[in-house]
């Protein structure tokens, strides 16, 4: 398959692995920011093929994982209402809130539906004028343009029964939060390629300068990751820092300008709570006031719901690269994909799920 097979070629992978081995003289700790990258690394066994000097830690780039607990509770609260059709990407349905999850709401008669695009939810709202259609708008910069487009279209076309429950987060503030933390051990980053396809990578240049850290914009196929790791290791070994772009087939420095404009038109920067990590200033997106009628939190009056995280879940440490999933005492015992304690065990991009599905031997 074009754009897939050539990036999963074994001979080419060997060449990259050899080059990485030749260039590595010291231990280095790299973080792949995106959960999709984590899954490729573990699924293809790349982490085990790398020289032992290189430690990969898994970053916070899993939209499902960082969505705060109370937001799941708010989603559950809204989805239980008889007048609501609650729509979401499939990943979110199994994520546990403090009491329940969306799949359980569905099992108990709630109208919870999987959609593949927020625009499908707008269509549902149009087809069901007597119902309230809510879309669970989570994600990083990657999903923001489509969600912005959904709100924009609903607004333009006067579809008043469409709203979104927003938990949009931004990558650069999270990277800064990690780098400025006293227990940070990350020496180089593989930046999330799809986020950069939208936003470009100019935002990362000041971060690379300020913290003197190499950041390599990296794709998601096995050879992308090996290439990204090689570029990062080369910079580290040569004592260089800055931003390099491995994912040139999808990413340009300026990014996708029309998408950025749309996002700016609908959303504004806001502080955000990250599940497992805490509050990060200016790290998220919220709807602008003129789109307030499409804001589900306000529409359903659930903004005051708060919740406490399970004290046994170490997902915050996992997402900050301080712990590996299997170092958690609950891993594979009290916490499994069927009955997860934390979100990283659920999402197809969650680090805990990657280790559970591809590594657990016991």
């Amino acid at each position: 398959m074009k754009y897939v097979d050539e990036y999963r070629d074994e001979a080419a992978a060997r060449k990259f692995l050899d080059a990485i081995r030749r260039r590595t003289t010291r231990p280095w700790t790299l973080m792949e920011v995106c959960g999709g990258q984590t899954h490729t690394l573990v699924k293809f066994g790349i982490d085990e093929l790398l020289p032992e000097e290189i430690t990969l830690v898994h970053g916070p780039g899993c939209p499902v994982c960082v969505t705060p607990l109370e937001l799941i509770d708010r989603a559950v609260e809204i989805a239980r209402r008889p007048e609501v059709i609650f729509t979401s990407f499939g990943d979110m349905l199994r994520v546990p809130g403090s009491q329940s999850d969306l799949l359980s709401v569905k099992a108990n008669g709630g109208d919870v539906r999987i959609v593949y695009s927020p625009l499908d939810a707008v269509k549902l709202a149009e087809q069901n004028p007597d119902r309230e259609v809510v879309f669970f708008a989570v994600g990083f910069e990657t999903t923001a343009p489509a969600n912005a487009m959904a709100v924009y279209q609903a607004h333009q076309r006067g579809i008043g029964n469409f709203s979104i429950l927003t938990s949009h987060v931004l990558v650069p503030p999270a990277m800064e939060a990690l780098l400025s933390s006293p227990d940070n051990r990350v020496q180089g980053f593989l930046a999330a390629g799809h986020v950069c396809a939208i936003m470009g990578y100019w935002e990362y240049e000041p971060i690379a300068q300020k913290y003197r850290v190499p950041i390599v914009v990296t794709g998601f196929e096995p050879l992308d990751l090996l290439h990204g790791i090689l570029l990062t290791v080369e910079m580290l070994e040569e004592g260089r820092w800055g931003v390099e772009n491995q994912y040139t087939r999808a990413v340009q420095r300026a990014g996708n300008l029309p998408a950025q404009e749309l996002v700016q038109q609908v959303f504004q920067i806001s502080d955000r709570q990250w599940r497992g990590i805490g509050q990060i200033p200016h790290s998220g997106l919220a709807l602008k006031d003129e789109f307030a009628r499409h804001d589900a939190e306000q529409r359903f009056g659930v903004a005051s719901l708060t919740a406490e995280e399970s004290p046994d879940c170490v997902s915050g440490d996992v997402m900050r690269g301080l712990k590996k999933p299997q170092e958690c005492a609950c891993f594979g015992t009290r916490c499994t994909p069927e009955s997860p304690l934390g979100a990283p065990m659920v999402s197809s991009e969650g680090a805990c799920a990657a280790y559970y599905n591809y590594r657990r031997v016991g």
């Binding site: 999709g36 293809f44 066994g45 569905k106 099992a107 799809h194 069927e338």
Partner: protein, 367 residues
């Protein structure tokens, strides 16, 4: 695969003491699942748990403990295979088939995977008030054609109608019986280190065909379900290879991965797959990439897995490829000494990973 079949398949793997059904206490941890959830029927771990801990505990008997896709009864005068399966698919008509043809193929295949020659089927219908008579007629014709194609008759049946809103148009149950020829011993427990794992063609096609209709996904080429009766190919394999065919299984819900995990656990052997050798249609692979699904876990309705003695692998491949349903057959892995009870896969770039049973339902990803 039928509930009984699942129970039986699992029973071979589980020799641990089971809860006493006479005690009347439900053995499932009710604090976690006070109600049935969809994943209990998804062909993965939760379904296995339900069958193993609730149904098997309730019904335990020597026959249920004996086989896999169906059960085999020794009548003294010969062996009879029996299997049952219910079909609740939505939409009821889909590219490449409908609920009727599927109901025939599913049960015929379960019998065939026991090494049995299918003999006759029953068909029970639960119809929802309001189902179009034209649709029911189409389904009945489709079942007739599928049964003819599989060389079986539908010899008994039942019809119930439920109130509008209490069904999903139509649910069908089929039960089948077949004759197991003397000397045929097909069982997941017979997988041995050194054996070779074959699949009869491209995988994941049925699941993607259904998903694309159900979810309104449009691809450049329409993907059609692979729904088909496998009794002929299975019969030829058994005829030509005799006892060198150790295991046969049709990897329906839960896909190739879940079927192989069950076999690995039943036989307490390891299985090592080679990702690059798994045949998947180009458009199906594309759909899986887009949706974030692993073809190993997507359902099939017209494919079989065969685990055969190494010396017989080439002949098995020839038999499969000579059959119209097996032209894309391939060797996808082997049974190994290491990691008993576990399936591993060598990735395209040379790393390895564990292949687990399907966990929960398959949910498409965010980005």
């Amino acid at each position: 695969m039928s509930v009984e079949a699942q129970a039986a398949g699992i029973a071979t793997a589980t020799t641990v003491a089971l809860p006493d059904p006479a005690a009347g206490v439900c053995p499932l941890p009710f604090d976690k699942y006070p109600t049935v959830v969809l994943a209990h029927g998804g062909g993965g771990r939760l379904g296995k748990m339900l069958v193993e801990q609730l149904f098997f505990a309730a019904y335990a008997n020597p026959v249920l403990g004996g086989f896999h896709d169906g059960s085999v009864l020794d009548t003294g005068a010969g062996r009879i295979a029996i299997s049952t399966d219910s079909f609740v698919i939505s939409p009821i008509f889909f590219p490449g088939g409908d609920i009727g043809s599927l109901a025939v193929h599913g049960t015929v295949n379960d019998l065939a995977m026991c090494g049995a020659k299918p003999l006759a089927l029953s068909a029970a219908f639960i119809l929802e008030e309001g189902l179009a008579m034209d649709d029911l007629w189409r389904i009945a014709q489709s079942m007739r054609d599928a049964a003819r194609g599989a060389g079986v008759d539908i010899v008994t049946g039942d019809t119930k109608v439920v109130d509008r809103g209490k069904g999903d148009g139509i649910f069908i149950n089929t039960t089948g019986i077949g004759i197991v020829p003397p000397g045929v011993e097909i069982s997941p427990r017979r997988a041995r280190p050194g054996d070779v794992v074959l699949v009869s063609g491209t995988v994941a096609t049925h699941g993607i065909a259904i998903m694309s209709v159900r979810e309104g996904l449009e691809f450049e080429t329409a993907v059609e379900s692979d729904s088909a009766a496998l009794h002929e190919m299975a019969g030829l394999l058994v005829e030509r290879l005799g006892e060198d065919v150790h295991v046969m299984r049709d990897p329906t819900r839960g896909g190739v991965a879940s079927a192989l995990c069950e076999i690995a656990q039943s036989a307490q052997v390891g299985i090592l797959l080679d990702e690059a050798k798994l045949p998947v249609l180009e458009e199906v692979r594309g759909a899986c990439e887009i949706l974030g699904l692993d073809p190993l876990y997507v359902a099939n309705e017209g494919k079989m897995i065969a685990i055969v003695k190494r010396d017989a692998a080439d002949e098995a491949l020839d038999v499969m490829r000579a059959h119209p349903l097996g032209t894309e057959a391939a060797i996808i892995g082997e049974v190994v000494d290491g990691h008993p009870g576990k399936v591993f896969q060598r990735s395209r770039i040379g790393g390895t990973r564990v292949v687990e049973m399907l966990s929960g339902e398959q949910l498409p990803r965010i980005c």
